[in-house]
């Protein structure tokens, strides 16, 4: 890496003025990039289109996806093409919609994490964390110190595994197929640790309102240390393999450019916003858990292109490892969940010897616990941006409304603007750089 390509760390928040923001807004609402065409029309009109009376030249409507290896699952794009150039486009989603927000209204707060963990399946712990923090705010309970540090350790490792997945799929999309195998291999190492702690590789249901499901098992320190030895070595290899490679750079640099003002107007957060040079990271700017007590840098880009988004994610893994190292050093002793009889089930051993404990256990797991009336919005920094959870409680044991602000869902709106006037081959690189997880887009 040369000095100019290295992502900067800890840049001050850029001073933006309203005029630039207004100009970006006028650009975005002018309808030059977004194709507003119904799914039905897109199917009917698929193919060559003659020039129209409104002044549109001849062009082609093309449906890309929903079953296409580069669309990360089931994203469908309706593209308006002029030869090989993309004019306007529209992301079509909903192919994975399973009504999880409706489902959440049928599940108690204790069952909630099982549901939300399936939304962003590449970083399940963040969903659980947002849901648990929201519930805890409504309950007004403070989680023990150790539980907070465990949550931080686990979510930072999850950020690494999620970015490793990005590295794998990004490499595959761009044609560096070997990278897919390497990314998947290293992610598996992290998932093996998750399996050791939570019992599952994915969809853990580990972070729950009140703390975490179980304490860290014996030998967790050795496992984390061996991860911290393996991953940096491999990241170095990838850096050598990809970052300076001319083909890789040609495919990514200057592709899918977006400005800070555009990203802000479109609600984009996470690596997309940071790639434009704006240092905005909720871990630093609105700290939750114990992020106040750890040292790390917020990595930002300069050009807002696909290469910056790749470089940021690569660099963020080093930052996450910094935090994990500090978690190792600072992990306090103590309880892993709050000792509040209302929300905490009794210890397993007590159930065998006490009738009251058995009744208590039974009541908590069948009826759940009541959460005071009110509404709350809590946001955490997921690998893809701001992940928010909005819960409205009516005083019963089930949420009256649970809404998840999914970063991928909002970030997908940047696609048409980044793809305008780019080549069809670049759309693949651009979709990949947004790193959408369709599970949370469609929920």
């Amino acid at each position: 890496m040369t000095a100019t390509d290295t992502p900067r760390t800890d840049a001050p928040a850029p001073v933006l003025d309203l005029g630039a923001l207004d100009a970006a807004r006028a650009r975005l609402t002018s309808d030059q990039a977004v194709l507003r065409m119904s799914e039905h029309d897109a199917e009917q009109l698929s193919g060559y289109q003659g020039p129209t009376e409104e002044g549109l030249a001849d062009r082609m409507i093309m449906n890309m996806g929903p079953v296409h290896p580069s669309t990360h699952g089931v994203l469908r794009l309706v593209l308006e093409m002029d030869g090989e150039t993309v004019l306007r486009s529209k992301p079509v989603m909903g192919y994975l919609h399973t009504g999880m927000e409706k489902q959440a209204e049928q599940l108690s707060y204790l069952q909630g994490p099982t549901n939300v963990t399936r939304m962003d399946y590449a970083s399940p712990l963040f969903n659980e964390l947002a849901f648990s923090l929201a519930t805890e705010t409504l309950l007004g309970i403070e989680v023990p110190e150790r539980a907070q540090w465990i949550r931080m350790l686990m979510t930072e490792l999850n950020r690494i595994s999620s970015h490793l997945l990005f590295m794998a799929t990004n490499g595959m999309d761009i044609g560096a197929v070997g990278m897919m195998l390497y990314g998947w291999r290293e992610r598996e190492e992290v998932l093996r640790f998750f399996e050791m702690v939570t019992g599952l590789r994915m969809n853990h249901n580990y972070i729950r309102p009140g703390g975490v499901a179980a304490d860290l098992p014996d030998g967790w320190r050795d496992e984390v240390r061996s991860l911290l030895e393996v991953i940096p070595e491999r990241l170095e290899e990838w850096d050598t393999l990809l970052t300076g490679q001319p083909i890789w750079r040609e495919r990514l640099q200057g592709v899918g450019v977006i400005t800070t003002e555009e990203a802000l107007s479109l609600g984009a957060t996470g690596p997309i916003l940071r790639s434009t040079g704006m240092a905005w990271d909720l871990r630093r700017d609105q700290p939750y858990l114990r992020y106040d007590d750890v040292e790390f840098d917020v990595v930002v880009g300069t050009y807002g292109d696909c290469f910056d988004r790749y470089a940021i994610r690569l660099a963020e893994m080093y930052e996450s490892m910094k935090i994990v190292r500090q978690c190792l050093d600072k992990m306090p002793a103590g309880d892993y969940r709050v000792q509040d009889k209302k929300v905490t089930p009794p210890p397993r051993a007590r159930i065998d010897e006490s009738m009251e404990a058995l009744i208590h256990h039974f009541k908590i797991f069948t009826e759940g616990y009541k959460v005071p009336e009110g509404e709350v919005y809590v946001a955490v920094e997921s690998p893809r941006g701001e992940l928010g959870c909005y819960i409205v409680s009516d005083g019963t044991s089930k949420p009256m409304r649970m809404h998840v602000r999914a970063p991928s869902f909002v970030n997908l709106q940047t696609l048409p603007h980044m793809m305008r006037d780019s080549f069809l081959a670049d759309t693949v690189a651009i979709i990949s750089s947004v790193d959408p997880i369709m599970g949370e887009v469609d929920r």
């Binding site: 507003r36 957060t269 009256m400 709106q413």
Partner: protein
């Protein structure tokens, strides 16, 4: 403008008139800043807040309060309606958040679209229309986003039945 969490219980009946900001009533449940508004004033309020520095419209969603008798934490001056459109705004410079709760009547669920103010609300507004049937006037693409285009009804409304698929056991006969 960071709000310090207060120890007082939420929605304690405040003596005297409720605090106002840009003509909207203010509540502060658990230290969060919440503004209460109605469809007629909603668009102007968001535009006003944008010039104040709330540049990022983080989230927009709808809530259906049909049949709920719970305390909604509304100030006394605000008349509760069936739907609420909830908008979360963020000011990156001062690192503060504000939440808007717009009361939308059930018999005429229409609010102006925020697309012209925050283009990033396009997808969330389509989602709120899709799932709750709240109509956003002036939206450039008022179509369904998650459900199929020919779907009927709005499944996240409280009176929409979640529906059940009966469990099929292999050994059971189909004569039931």
């Amino acid at each position: 403008m960071t709000d310090t969490p207060t120890d007082q219980p939420e929605a304690a009946p405040a003596p005297g008139p409720t605090e106002q900001l840009h003509g909207a009533y203010v509540t502060r449940p658990r230290g969060e800043l919440v503004l209460h508004t109605v469809p007629a004033e909603y668009l102007g309020l968001v535009e006003q807040l944008r010039t104040d520095g709330y540049w990022l419209c983080v989230d927009l969603c709808a809530v259906d309060y049909l049949g709920s008798s719970a305390d909604r934490g509304l100030p006394a001056e605000v008349e509760p309606q069936r739907f609420e459109v909830v908008v979360n705004l963020l000011d990156p410079a001062s690192r503060s958040r504000v939440r808007l709760r717009c009361q939308v009547p059930g018999d005429e669920p229409v609010v102006p679209s925020l697309f012209a103010v925050h283009p990033g609300t396009e997808a969330p507004e389509r989602e709120a229309f899709d799932l709750f049937g709240v109509v956003f006037e002036g939206h450039p693409d008022p179509t369904r986003i998650l459900l199929p285009e020919d779907w009927e009804g709005h499944p996240l409304r409280r009176d929409a039945d979640p529906g059940r698929i009966p469990v099929q056991f292999k050994a059971a006969s189909n004569s039931r």
